[in-house]
């Protein structure tokens, strides 16, 4: 069974040799720090740790096209002020992987929407796709019967990107000051996604899933009310998922950090049926509880508390075994609930993976071997973060 077949079988509750063994990724600092603990510099993590390949994406560009130029506006030593490709002016760390701080936004109101953003969101722009010859080659690869990796089609974002373009405060005001504009933005974003999906799926591409990104929840719940979500977003999610369904794409996942409890059932009703990454957080989200509450209609990816990996090894084993029945049931792929942070020792991560392969991987040797660390290669730990100075 290859990774593509294993993913599809898992998400459809069908027999498979074992669970996929995957991760969400790593902070940039984590891999740097792990080099001091024996991780070979320049290694590909999936290969080194012997994991199944993550999914690859297909489809056209569903964001701003052309993007804004990425410009450094001011050098501030360890940080810099820059215009990002989404038009947001940020202060960002040059060396740390922290999320940039928004300083200003190109999108402020209807005028700036019409002037700078709407022209970059034309759903009929041919440049959202590569040249015909390149497109044909891509489609050939995506439709290759012997393709071994899972393929996800880009299904965009209806709120998350707009929130980034405006900033949380301004989009919150726009929702009340100019509801028509907010609705127009959501509809425009959906139109771009649908045009991309239509062309890609009509070409015969049949991905294993569609992927959306929203990040519209925080530790206390959603950033907008479920009522507004239902009124404005759900009809457009439904347009997207209906189209996907027409082409047989029945796994649609949304990437949303934070406490998703209030939105999860609304997404499910709208045909978005896979929640990722089930961030455990201080609100103690639990994939087992989601399954108990929503049954097999809701698929899940993630749900392993990344902070647990920094703790005692017994706790890691206990959590892996606690999740094992859900993994066995299917419709769930366990991964750390976000990128692995730098306070997780490399030895703990290797222990976690070996235990995951033993329990979730049924001990089969078709998981790649977990990378070996030579203890003599481990260097003394040095300072990690500027706040320690």
């Amino acid at each position: 069974m290859n990774a593509r077949e294993r993913f599809a079988a898992t998400m459809h509750y069908q027999p498979r040799d074992r669970s996929p063994i995957m991760d969400f990724g790593f902070w940039d600092e984590t891999l740097v720090i792990w080099q001091e603990q024996g991780y070979p510099a320049g290694s590909d993590p999936d290969s080194f740790f012997g994991m199944d390949p993550q999914w690859f994406e297909c489809g056209g560009i569903v964001g701003l096209w052309p993007a804004f130029p990425d410009l450094v506006l001011k050098d501030q030593g360890e940080t810099e002020v820059a215009q990002q490709s989404d038009g947001v002016i940020v202060q960002r760390g040059k060396f740390l992987g922290t999320i940039p701080r928004h300083i200003d936004h190109t999108l402020k109101d209807r005028d700036s929407w019409n002037k700078y953003f709407k022209p970059r969101l034309r759903d009929d722009d041919p440049l959202r796709f590569p040249s015909e010859s390149a497109w044909t080659m891509l489609v050939d690869e995506w439709t290759r019967p012997t393709r071994e990796y899972p393929l996800f089609i880009r299904a965009g974002s209806l709120y998350g990107v707009a929130r980034n373009w405006f900033g949380l405060e301004r989009i919150s005001e726009v929702i009340y000051d100019d509801r028509v504009l907010f609705e127009e933005i959501v509809e425009t974003l959906a139109d771009v996604v649908i045009a991309s999906l239509e062309r890609t799926l009509a070409a015969g591409v049949r991905p294993e899933a569609a992927s959306m990104w929203e990040d519209m929840c925080y530790n206390a719940g959603p950033l907008i009310s479920p009522k507004l979500f239902k009124q404005v977003l759900v009809p457009h999610y439904r347009r997207i998922t209906d189209l996907l369904c027409k082409y047989g794409v029945d796994i649609v996942f949304v990437d949303c950090d934070g406490k998703i409890d209030a939105l999860a059932p609304l997404w499910l009703d709208a045909g978005v049926n896979t929640m990722f990454p089930i961030e455990v957080g201080t609100w103690h989200a639990d994939p087992i509880e989601f399954r108990r509450k929503y049954g097999k209609d809701m698929r899940l990816i993630g749900g392993v508390d990344k902070h647990l990996l920094a703790g005692p090894l017994e706790g890691i084993t206990r959590e892996i075994e606690r999740l094992a029945p859900l993994v066995e049931e299917g419709g769930y792929i366990p991964t750390p609930d976000h990128r692995v942070p730098p306070d997780v020792p490399l030895s703990h991560y290797i222990f976690y993976l070996n235990e995951a392969k033993r329990v979730w991987g049924r001990g089969l040797d078709n998981c790649g071997p977990t990378g070996h660390v030579d203890p003599s290669a481990v260097k003394p730990t040095t300072k990690r973060f500027s706040w320690e100075s």
């Binding site: 999320i99 701080r101 950033l223 009310s225 957080g281 730098p342 973060f385």
Partner: protein
């Protein structure tokens, strides 16, 4: 009384135009600005906080109500200053060193101002020295620290340690919040309180001021 109720409603409903004009109208009619603040504006933001905690309001509603509150405050603040009316307390607010996130911090600041506190916003990526200086020089009652990252919340403990080392820990209450912060963490580092939400921070700050 009707004017007060209308001002209260304007803030709760997030109508900043009405909040401004009603406040101006009340002042022109001879209303005491402190009475407007204490009997209409702060209670309105308390109601907003209550609705937020009950799941009736979400972040957008908090933001537009706070905008309405600010519109009214802009009218009465000069008058309050002239009368030397004291705020509910003075809070130094900061995101700790190594962390550039300010959405949560700004929401807390907005709600604290709505709750009648004076807020000294020290910004993001703020080290212990700057916070100690604020405590020494700006007569603050409360230090409120925010962090989003698990790798930066240690900056909260460093700040408390620095306040102790500089002999000013007893002068202020320290409250903390942010996605990775828990009550246990607050207890472990010796903070005086933890709030999960921006409106919870107002309740916490008031209780600490009442006990101070």
């Amino acid at each position: 009384m009707d004017d007060l109720k209308q001002l209260f409603d304007a803030i709760v409903e997030g109508d900043h135009h009405a909040a401004k004009s009603l406040t101006e109208g009340a002042i022109v009619a001879g209303a005491n600005p402190k009475v407007l603040l204490d009997t209409a504006m702060i209670p309105a933001m308390d109601e907003v906080g209550r609705r937020f905690e009950q799941g009736e309001y979400f972040v957008p509603e908090l933001i537009i109500s706070a905008r309405a509150m600010k519109a009214g405050m802009a009218v009465i603040r000069p008058l309050l200053t002239a009368r030397a009316d004291k705020p509910a307390g003075r809070v130094a607010l900061a995101t700790v060193r190594g962390d550039l996130h300010d959405i949560g911090k700004n929401l807390v600041g907005t709600m604290l101002e709505g709750g009648g506190f004076e807020v000294v916003d020290l910004g993001v990526d703020v080290g212990p020295d700057k916070i100690v200086a604020a405590v020494k020089d700006q007569n603050v009652d409360i230090v409120a620290l925010s962090a989003l990252l698990t790798t930066t919340i240690a900056g909260m403990k460093l700040t408390i340690d620095k306040l102790k080392a500089e002999g000013v820990r007893d002068r202020v209450k320290v409250i903390i919040g942010g996605a990775p912060v828990t009550q246990k963490f607050a207890n472990d580092i010796g903070a005086d309180g933890f709030a999960e939400t921006a409106s919870g921070a107002v309740v916490l700050a008031r209780s600490l001021m009442a006990g101070a």
